[in-house]
């Protein structure tokens, strides 16, 4: 069931168009990875969905209701920006009180996560390290048990153990509480671990979206060594998603029928054929390469 519906959204800051005719739908209980190069408009989109900003044109509906200035819907949303605010000298406890004024905060759950992260919330937040601050805000976000969590660059500053704990907590929230989670990040491997769907923003709009597993299952990547020289032209009949050459070894990713491709490649009498796992990172690189980046 679609719960977040973004229709033909435009947003600009002065003469700078950030989002242009962007449309997107997100299903209930989904963990959605929002990806894109720096400055693509990911944070702006999250601010629009959370009701911080208002669209210049178009609409954003959650559960069929407009979000902007809608207290009823915003009670179900927790937005964690990439650089969250805290007043100077504010302690974690005071921050808990602030969020507790607006959300139905589960203190037991909060203290469980704080205990895991070994955080002392009596201390002023400015004394925390970057990762500790992130852990505190993540704990608060999870403890509020919102229906919608919007997380911007959430893996920044988290150590591998904290990342693991966070990913488990997010999956638990999505599974047990049916929360819909949108995560914007450049940590594509982490996103691949937890996200079921994704959207790629480029040129002010969503250029690619879908279910990660389904898209990746339709893609194959091979490492092949040939006796004779081959070129990309030799694979023109296939939907080649990426192609690179290192000496006599080529790495090629294709979309389509794996068996047909393998039969074709065997006609070149290769020395070696290895199938490599296609990752979300490969998909991302393929998409941004296709759009003229990384050249």
């Amino acid at each position: 069931m679609t719960v977040i519906e973004i229709r033909n959204v435009y947003k600009s800051f002065g003469s700078n168009n950030v989002l242009n005719d962007l449309s997107l739908t997100i299903k209930k209980g989904s963990i959605f990875g929002l990806v894109g190069i720096n400055g693509a408009g990911k944070s702006t989109l999250l601010r629009l969905i959370s009701g911080v900003y208002r669209c210049d044109q178009g609409s954003i509906h959650i559960e069929g209701e407009r979000v902007f200035e809608n207290k009823h819907i915003k009670e179900k949303i927790f937005f964690l920006p990439d650089d969250p605010y805290y007043a100077y000298n504010l302690t974690g406890l005071e921050l808990k009180n602030l969020y507790g004024s607006y959300y139905d905060l589960d203190e037991a759950l909060l203290y469980k996560h704080l205990d895991t992260f070994k955080l002392d919330i009596q201390k002023p937040i400015h004394n925390y390290s970057k990762g500790m601050k992130r852990q505190l805000f993540i704990s608060l976000a999870i403890a509020c048990k919102p229906q919608y969590i919007l997380l911007d660059e959430v893996f920044d500053g988290l150590d591998p153990l904290a990342r693991l704990h966070f990913k488990r907590a997010i999956i638990e929230l999505s599974t047990n509480h049916q929360s819909t989670i949108i995560i914007s990040s450049h940590a594509l491997r982490e996103l691949e671990d937890i996200c079921d769907s994704y959207g790629l923003i480029d040129h002010q709009t969503i250029v690619s979206e879908g279910e990660i597993a389904s898209i990746l299952s339709d893609m194959y990547k091979f490492q092949v060594a040939f006796k004779k020289e081959v070129s990309r032209k030799d694979f023109k009949d296939f939907d080649v998603k990426s192609y690179s050459v290192e000496g006599k070894i080529i790495k090629i990713a294709i979309k389509g029928n794996k068996d047909t491709f393998l039969k074709y490649i065997e006609s070149f009498d290769p020395i070696l054929i290895d199938e490599i796992n296609v990752s979300f990172e490969d998909l991302f690189i393929k998409e941004v390469e296709a759009r003229g980046y990384l050249k």
């Binding site: 800051f13 959370s50 911080v52 650089d83 969250p84 605010y85 009180n97 004024s101 607006y102 959300y103």
Partner: protein, 343 residues
């Protein structure tokens, strides 16, 4: 309300800070003062003996400080991300912060006032103590109105610095403008029906809401008659009306406030766009008492300073054509007026 209850502890610090300042500037001089030094030859307190002028100036400072302290959080991108994403609409958000600031400043005021009157009484100053009651309520009303005005002005900005400059600008620039109008009327004596100038060259800005009310009611406390209110009863009434209208518009008409504008140039008509040309005009017209060569030099300096104002406003050295034309035309027109006045 829940927010205020949960965060009452964070109100203690600013209140303590303000009470300490209030004690140092208002109460301490009363405490260490000599009663005999406050009396004239007939044994009565002279005008100003109650130190209320200092109290009023202190309250002006408080009413400038609290809006900046409370609302600056909304003028940072990080603060906006937090507060505008919370399940609270802008009207409630503004009202909550407004009430929080109101609690802080009234608490500080009440404590400083009580400390002041207690000290005055213990020291045995021969004042008419009954009149401290209207003085208390008069200053309280003035304080709330002036605070409300400053909140409205501050919220027209897109950054804390711009907001602070707007608030400070509105403290001085209307007074300069008022004086320039009076000097023009006095010089050219236009025969405009109903236009009467009482000749009172006081400091006519929203600060009248505290200074005038304080000084006027203090004259009853002191049994002194030397304070001349002039047109300030009327002007205080006008500023009170403006303050009420400003705060109502600010709290109930929030649709023009966009979090996405935060840290952008503050283009409000209630900010630099109006304050800079008015300040430039007022200062140049106000220096008509100089001879013409000196007047031209000072007019040039004032125009150069106004250019700096536009640089601060637009955050670039090459200002927009609109600002440049405004700067030049205001400079030329006000210089001509000033020269004509000086003749």
């Amino acid at each position: 309300m829940k927010y205020l209850k949960q965060n009452y502890k964070r109100m203690i610090k600013p209140v303590v800070f303000l009470v300490i300042i209030g004690f140092l500037v208002y109460v301490l001089p009363i405490l260490i003062g000599n009663v005999e030094d406050k009396l004239n030859s007939s044994g009565m307190p002279y005008s100003g003996a109650s130190n209320v002028a200092v109290l009023a100036i202190y309250l002006i400072g408080v009413a400038i400080f609290i809006p900046i302290y409370e609302f600056s959080v909304l003028k940072t991108k990080r603060g906006a991300d937090l507060y505008y994403s919370l399940p609270i609409n802008k009207k409630t958000l503004y009202t909550t912060l407004y009430v929080k600031g109101l609690i802080e400043l009234t608490t500080a005021y009440v404590l400083v006032f009580i400390l002041g009157i207690t000290t005055t009484f213990i020291k045995g100053y021969p004042f008419n103590y009954v009149y401290y009651l209207p003085l208390f309520f008069g200053l309280l009303v003035g304080l709330i109105l002036y605070y409300s005005f400053n909140v409205s002005v501050f919220l027209r900005s897109n950054s804390t610095i711009d907001g602070a400059l707007f608030v400070v600008g509105y403290t001085f620039i209307p007074a300069m403008f008022y004086l320039s109008i009076i000097s023009m009327v006095a010089a050219f004596n236009p025969q405009i029906p109903y236009l009467k100038i009482d000749g009172y060259r006081g400091f006519n800005s929203p600060t009248l809401l505290l200074y005038h009310i304080g000084m006027y009611l203090a004259s009853f406390v002191e049994r002194a008659t030397s304070y001349q209110p002039g047109s300030h009863h009327i002007m205080s009434g006008i500023w009170a009306g403006i303050s009420v209208a400003a705060i109502l518009l600010t709290l109930f008409n929030t649709k023009y406030d966009k979090p996405e504008d935060i840290q952008q140039i503050s283009r409000s008509w209630f900010g630099y766009k109006t304050l800079i040309p008015i300040a430039q005009f007022s200062f140049i017209v106000g220096i008509s008492f100089f001879d013409i060569p000196a007047l031209l030099v000072y007019a040039f300096i004032i125009t150069a300073v106004s250019y700096v104002g536009y640089v601060i406003y637009e955050r670039k050295f090459i200002i927009s054509l609109y600002s440049f034309i405004t700067l030049l035309s205001v400079g030329v027109i006000s210089t001509i007026i000033s020269i004509l006045e000086s003749l």
